[in-house]
Amino acid sequence: MEQARFAELLRKLASNQVEFVVVGMMAGVLRGAPVLTLDLDIVHRRTPDNVKRLLGVLSDLEATYRHDPRGLRPGESHLMSEGHQLLSTRLGDVDCLGAVGHGETYDDLLEHAPEISLGDALRVRVIDMPTLIRLKEEAGRPKDLAALPVLRATLDESGRQ
């Protein structure tokens, strides 16, 4: 596993006009949850142009499938699918998700993913906490359920501020 460089990774995606929404626990962190994650989960827009831009970034970052010892690289057809591409790059692990939850796409998530500023003109779309909680509830795996108390408490605390 390469040393993760989250800001650089996000900047690389944004500066290449890749349309994506940050989801998963990185979204939780950016929304204020004190949790640990070692990868970046994104839902990308699955249009041919955007997939080309994403593929360009992934190629530049030497992305390969994380659990495949053959070093396979993602292709256009993979990124156009609803599937989850679990990748390693030289800036850390990135999961490129075609859809999340019950088939929710980039366009479905847009209204629940306002932009946030990460400084130096870097702005990225990050799903809001209620949506993250709902997706974790729907996923229902033990690791998702284990995260829920902290995420719910974060939502509660942010409502008090």
Binding site: M1, A4, P34, V126, P149, A153
Partner: protein, 85 residues
């Protein structure tokens, strides 16, 4: 009659049946009875840590997670364990 039992003051009133107990409701007692908002909630979640994280700007939160991830990577490197999945 007023007496104290630890931190709770109670008023003992004769009722003809051996007396009864009811809490004293003056300001001092009420203030003592209401606990401060807990830092650890009923689910064991550290609310103080959440409040500290919420006080940061998103860019600063990104720095926090970057530092944590760097620490984990360093621990793995020192242990020679590599990625744990």
């Amino acid at each position: 009659m007023c007496c104290s039992t630890g931190s709770l003051r109670v008023l003992v009133e004769p009722d003809g049946m051996g007396g009864s107990l009811r809490p004293v409701t003056d300001a001092r007692t009420a203030a003592e009875a209401v606990p401060a908002a807990p830092d650890i909630d009923e689910n064991g979640v550290d609310r103080a840590q959440i409040r500290a994280m919420l006080a940061l700007a998103p860019a600063e939160r990104l720095l926090v997670i970057q530092n944590l991830a760097d620490s984990v990577t360093e621990i793995r490197r020192l242990n020679g364990t590599g990625a744990v999945r």
